[in-house]
Symmetry: C2
């Protein structure tokens, strides 16, 4: 199936949400933005996910990250369902907008259709897709999870922390990295440049190839 | 960019690997299979990721899951690089095959091209894509991460544990779920069916809508 993938521009769609109409590029503005779809309102995993996202929304706000939910249900359904979400998550508040896509136009353009799932009327519904969009309005990273598998907010926070550091420094984050752990210097940076860019120093791992490409440092 | 997404069939390509030629469908057989690409051999994040995958390979083997790495480098490069990977990860062994795609044919068909990255010759390289393929040879779940962000093996294990339970029971796993925690019963299952299917019992969360859709149980 054709669809949006990393590096692609976010289509600048006009969408109806629980916070009124928004244009996607205006909403993103200069922030990293998380756009996440769910199969349907008043369904079990979705309730736990949007509750978890509400519980993490302060954390995302601290990181300067905006949130936007999305499903094929309408705005009135979303508003009624939010009462269930907030009751489930013990007083957390759904402060982020949830977009409505009854025509399935947005979920198609954003590669969020789940081909294996239909609603009770036989219409297509979204997968548990999650795109992280950069301030340049391009897709930086995507999760495409099926209806069976709720997402993991800790992993979403982890990758945001990685993307933000990589946007500010010529570094990348190694496998299983968590905030506070060492990062690696990009291969495009020579050792001479690394000495200037990283006055805190760096450590090169000694490997059989002796190519000296695995250089660890620390950045905030 | 057009590309493979969840629900799509895995193309049955013939690929060259460090373990000899394989056909993708034969390799998958009746197992869940993880196909993961990396931007390039002898680069920093990739070395940590393939080392982490080697360290987790026994865990994946216990889960009955096969692994297949992939980049645009050739087999000889992969074989030389494995010495670095194994040195980095303190004696772990790269027992899984790594496929070679110097023509960039496979990464295009598997939606693994990173539009923002080129090698030193200006050729396309893969992103950090990871597809989990089911025994039915279809894509069940995908991660599309950029070069800057190493993947998280704990999250990969978590979603495999979810997919396998959902394949065996009419359940799904809630947000942030980990093995051993309660799961939710699928909305397609009536309460009467749930009583038969889950003799261990289940608990319905009381929500303002009184729709009774959030039912937790436990499965192995």
């Amino acid at each position: 199936m054709p669809g949006l993938t990393i590096g692609d521009p976010l289509p600048n769609l006009q969408v109806q949400t629980t916070h009124g109409p928004i244009k996607l590029h205006d909403y993103v503005g200069n922030s990293f933005t998380i756009i996440f779809s769910h199969p349907g309102d008043f369904t079990p995993v979705c309730t736990t996910e949007l509750g978890a996202m509400a519980a993490y929304s302060e954390k995302f706000s601290e990181l300067g990250v905006k949130l936007l939910g999305l499903s094929a249900d309408d705005v009135e359904s979303h508003k009624a369902w939010i009462k269930d979400i907030e009751a489930y998550c013990n007083g957390c508040k759904v402060t982020y907008p949830i977009a409505a896509d009854p025509d399935r136009r947005i979920i198609k353009e954003l590669n969020m259709v789940d081909p294996d799932e239909k609603d009770s009327s036989g219409n297509q519904v979204p997968s548990r897709a999650l795109h992280i969009v950069g301030p340049d309005k391009r897709i930086k990273l995507s999760f495409l999870y099926p209806a069976s598998t709720g997402r993991n907010m800790e992993e979403v926070v982890r990758v945001v922390e990685s993307l933000q550091r990589a946007a500010n420094h010529k570094i990348a984050t190694p496998a299983n990295w968590k905030k506070g752990e060492a990062v690696v210097i990009s291969p495009s940076v020579s050792n001479e440049e690394a000495n200037r860019m990283f006055p805190q120093g760096y450590k090169t791992t000694d490997l059989p190839s002796k190519k000296g490409y695995l250089r660890f440092t620390n950045v905030e």
